[in-house]
């Protein structure tokens, strides 16, 4: 998967036609094989753009910064990124007419070790669902992809309650409350987060296991039904916490119980908690 040439051509063409002010893409980080996001405003810098299977980050996150807000933006999206873009469009965070979206038919990206990332092996939507222009040939045949429950979730759910409690206590203990997960998430766009509200800060000022439990649980439940499993939070986490466990747990419950709901796949679909069905499970309620 290498679309470097095509993306450079598209960006150069868009700048020449005056259709965009900023182009959001990837460039080499300059010291190893990995890539970092780049915001290009000068047409001469277009040659910096690359796209290979090392392009791991979700660029939609950069649509919530001041560099791109209220500007005409060109952006590269993979399948998972396009789902989060879909949600941002539905939630009126960006305007579609300001965007030029280059969609990728994604064959999966690789981590530092060179292995295909876990969310890519389980991916349900490899092709971009929002785009002005598609690159590559469609990966998903119609209806050939089936939902696989995350292997980590299955393994943890089989363990007894006490072991799970001990495992998660260690996870929350290692959190340093830097909020990188929140800043790296495209769907965490609130100007003032509820976790940072005055009462919550006073109440949870210290960085303790208990405070991390409160913050991460609230965060994951606010993203339940909206998380698209791009794993930007996990890539950003300096403590390497397995944050996907919380999100995938919510996702699997929602997929199994609420009419196979997947966030951001259908345009104008606001997420699982914005709708209901009369057939929703009721057996856990007295």
């Amino acid at each position: 998967m290498n679309y470097t040439k095509q993306i450079q051509d598209i960006a150069a063409k868009l700048f020449a036609e005056g259709k965009i002010d900023v182009f959001v893409g990837y460039r080499m980080n300059g010291f190893d094989e990995n890539q970092v996001p780049v915001l290009i405003t000068d047409p001469q810098d277009v040659s910096k753009l690359v796209f290979t299977d090392k392009s791991v980050f979700n660029l939609v996150n950069y649509l919530k910064t001041d560099h791109t807000r209220r500007k005409r933006v060109g952006i590269v999206v993979k399948g998972c990124d396009s789902r989060s873009l879909n949600l941002m469009l539905t939630e009126s965070q960006v305007k579609r007419e300001n965007l030029y979206v280059v969609g990728i038919c994604c064959e999966g990206v690789v981590d530092d070790a060179g292995e295909k990332m876990q969310n890519c092996t389980d991916c349900m939507v490899p092709d971009a669902v929002v785009s002005d222009e598609m690159l590559g040939t469609a990966v998903s045949g119609s209806g050939t992809l089936t939902y696989k429950k995350n292997a980590d979730i299955v393994a943890l759910a089989e363990k007894p309650l006490t072991e799970r409690a001990a495992y998660f206590e260690e996870v929350f203990e290692n959190c340093i409350r830097c909020n990188a997960c929140r800043h790296s998430c495209p769907l965490c766009y609130c100007a003032k987060c509820c976790i940072d509200q005055e009462t919550a800060t006073l109440y949870n000022g210290a960085n303790t296991t208990s405070a991390a439990f409160h913050a991460l649980m609230t965060w994951s439940l606010h993203l339940a039904g909206r998380c698209v499993d791009c794993r930007n939070c996990e890539k950003a986490c300096p403590s390497h916490l397995p944050l996907h466990l919380l999100h995938k747990q919510n996702e699997s419950v929602i997929y199994e119980n609420f009419q196979e709901h997947l966030a951001g796949v259908i345009p104008e679909d606001r997420g699982a908690f914005y709708k209901y069905s009369l057939k929703d499970p009721d057996d856990f309620i007295m």
């Binding site: 208990s210 409160h214 919380l246 856990f284």
Partner: protein, 162 residues
């Protein structure tokens, strides 16, 4: 830190070891204004006894309940939580409890996933006419939580510097 991990593991497996004598659980009861709160009122006016362990908070609708309420109460003083609202179809705001039902399921499963016993987070539908049912529900929840013992998992005071 090791002592605390041991503590909470003991609390799940052998409650009798660390439950102090005459220990009574604290249960957070979040009730919807239109059905369950009126139902609990009827229980009282009908002179039906129910355990005093429940601390009741009134909310406008069960869909007002943010999962944050449950997380915060389990983290501070509560040993268990009971959320109660109108029966499906009876919501004063037409569809509030349908939305709430989805959130409750996901919240309960997630809290269970990170180590809380499923009986610590309970939900019920109680209408304004169901005084006896409310007493039955509170009795059951209190019994369940007495069996589990005091909650130590992620409790705020366990992690504060002394």
């Amino acid at each position: 830190m090791e002592a605390e991990v041991k503590d909470q593991l003991v609390s799940i497996e052998k409650p009798e070891l660390i439950a102090p004598p005459n220990w009574e659980p604290v249960i957070m009861g979040i009730l919807c204004n239109w059905c369950s709160y009126a139902g609990s009122d009827l229980t009282g006016t009908s002179r039906i006894q129910y355990p005093p362990n429940i601390r009741i908070i009134r909310v406008p609708c069960s869909s007002r309940v943010d999962p944050w309420f449950l997380i915060k109460s389990l983290q501070t003083t509560a040993d268990g939580v009971l959320v109660s609202g109108c029966h499906p179809g009876d919501c004063h705001y037409i569809s509030g409890n349908y939305f709430a039902r989805r959130r409750f399921l996901v919240t309960k499963k997630l809290l269970n996933f990170v180590g809380f016993h499923e009986n610590r987070i309970q939900f019920s539908w109680v209408s304004a006419a169901e005084g006896p049912k409310f007493a039955k529900v509170v009795n059951k929840v209190t019994e369940d939580i007495k069996k589990l013992g005091p909650l130590h998992l992620y409790k705020k005071e366990n992690f504060e510097k002394k």
